[in-house]
Amino acid sequence: MSEDDEDQSPATDLRSQPPCSPNKSRNCISSSQTFPDHVLENVLENVLQFLDSRCDRNAASLVCKLWWKVEGLTRSEVFIGNCYALSPARLTQRFKRVRSLLLKGKPRFADFNLMPADWGANFAPWVSTMAKAYPWLEKVDLKRMFVTDDDLALLAESFPGFKELILVCCEGFGTSGIAVVANKCRKLKVLDLIESDVTDDEVDWVSCFPEDVTCLESLAFDCVEAPINFKALEGLVGRSPLLRKLRLNRFVSLEEVHRLLLLGAPQLTSLGTGSFSRGDQSQQEPPDYAAAFRACKSVVCLSGFRELMPEYLPAILPVCANLTSLNFSYANISPDMFKPIIHNCHKLQIFWALDSICDEGLQAVAATCKELRELRIFPFDPREDTEGPVSELGLQAISEGCRKLESLLYFCQHMTNAALIAMSHNCPELTVFRLCIMGRLRPDHVTGKAMDEGFGAIVKNCKKLTRLAVSGLLTDQAFRYMGEYGKLIRTLSVAFAGDSDMALRHVLEGCPRLQKLEIRDSPFGDVALRSGMHRYYNMRFVWMSACRLTMGCCKDVARAMPNLVVEVIGSDDDDVNRDYVETLYMYRSLDGPRKDAPQFVTIL
């Protein structure tokens, strides 16, 4: 489960020139003058190779020219938070021995249809450059990138030691690309396709894995909307002794899951069931599903449950006591069906579900899951003016029962300030707080006041908060609180909030760690945009759509900040108001504006 994982440290320092002149006496190895350079380099290499954390490596590379160079030689894992922040050529120039790449493309709001298709974030230039530079590449982890079958084919052919392919929220490829990877990457350990859009090319990719014993440790294809060859899958599981994580898609029936579990259950630590319903409604006795789950002695993470027939849910009871992670977010489960299950999940740390479990279900979670760290409640019916089965009652119960809570995503129709204030006091470990009151501009439904005090309490009392998403009726006051107390906030999402430019100014002037700012449909204009110019080079990106920006101001910003790429995205038939900026997406870049921008993107 990886929706919007937080990255812990700032972006790679990829400047082309070393940061300081070698004459400055920052070289802390005082006897360096007596040793030949290459000896020193070797020593440094041997030492620096132990540095894992990005932060530490970035710091080390700033010491002096030599350290900068050696760090570049020894960095094996590279993280690029914005694929347009630099070119592939710069990557391969700076880091010579990369084994693992984590690359992120489109901004998050693209997930919600706020950006046209074909905007960019193509994997192609990256894979073709790396194919020549990094023959020993082992791992590629992409998020929101456009990946084609050809890209996958090139990847499969270019890297003989390739081990891990993880594609999260990607698109542009199909089962034929997967088939090539399965077939040619003989050392493949991980093939995880997560919430990606995979076209059905009617290729039996499961049969494409090599016929001998595989190295597979993790196989996730729950997002692949295409039938698979179950017999081939059975065979694959049978010859993958290292398989620990298996996430099936909805075309695998419960009977088939049953068969797979009887084959390989004891080793599995993570299971994503396929369809949790009887495909063939024939007269014969259903298999003993509970027996299959009883065999899952090591399973700690359970997900799937597509097309759930609730009467089969109790089959998972044997594994509940061991579960640390449970994802019911594709299953429409009522409170009555839910409570007997959750009652056994004492060790649960991560829980995702639909709001169909209601406040009552949340109360049951609060009563049992004392170790809960992460909670995500998604709406079964994501519309604005429905009744809403979860509310402040559920949230209050969670805050009282789950004191160790660190991360929250909660969709609801109504909320109160009181519940947020309570949570801010009860859950001091919160680092991620994302509340989506689906009715836009909804005030506290008990007091009728804006939600300022509630969110204010969250930023004030949750001292570890790094990620915040706000909603409901919010005035500038809420943003004043954010600017005053939100000193560790790195990611901020705002929609339909605030009264004036001052709101955004508070945030831009008050939140020194702000990296990612995404705003939609809020009355922030040129004054606000200008007030943040001292920050934009230190941020990964700023997204503002349907706000009050003018072209003139955006051009000014672009002119004043040459290393900032300022994209204005909109339909080009927009003659009505050329000065109005529909969508602004801006980000720092070491290599200037991109060359692959489509027609509807104007780079200022």
Partner: protein
């Protein structure tokens, strides 16, 4: 602006949009207002921010990925009845990509032809009208809502013919 990605085609042009005379216009405007309401709010300086915009579907709100929305259309099998036919049929709405595929399948199943349709006047000419019951229990004309919303809101289908259909025809 709406960048609705439905099966990777922009189906706005081929969408069936049916309704009573005059209602078609309103729907058009509603569609437009939902597409451009963001812009309209902010272009005019006189616009008040305090009153919430009309409760039409705003693009990308609530922020739930379409992948999740699609998965929540739990029941895909719906019963189909046709006036005068001795027994009902069941079809899986998820197997169709758009209304024309669905209607073609229904025509094959029940051996009839649906008349010419137009956005304003619905199905005319053959005396056969496809309707469905939605989640709120109301009977609607097939084609009212965009296709990707249809499977999750349709509970059952009824193909009207004979006098009921004629009555509907004349009302249109």
């Amino acid at each position: 602006m709406a960048y609705e990605k439905v099966n990777e085609l922009n189906l706005k042009d081929t969408e069936l949009r049916l309704g009573l005379p005059g209602s078609g216009q309103v729907k058009e405007e509603q569609e437009v207002s939902c597409v451009r309401s963001n812009k309209r709010q902010h272009q005019s300086d006189n616009e008040e921010e305090s009153t919430p915009p009309t409760k039409t579907q705003i693009v990308g709100w609530p922020p739930v990925r379409s992948y999740r929305k699609n998965n929540n259309s739990v029941v895909s099998y719906v019963k189909v009845s046709m006036d005068g036919a001795p027994y009902l049929r069941k079809i899986d709405l998820k197997t169709y990509k758009n209304y024309s595929e669905l209607l073609k399948e229904l025509e094959n199943m029940f051996k009839f032809t649906i008349g010419e349709y137009s956005e304003r006047e619905g199905y005319r000419g053959s005396g056969v009208v496809p309707t469905y019951e939605d989640k709120d229990g109301d009977w609607m004309l097939v084609g009212d809502v965009p296709w990707d919303m249809f499977p999750s809101s349709c509970k059952r289908l009824r193909i009207m013919k004979g006098s009921d259909a004629l009555a509907l025809d004349s009302a249109l």
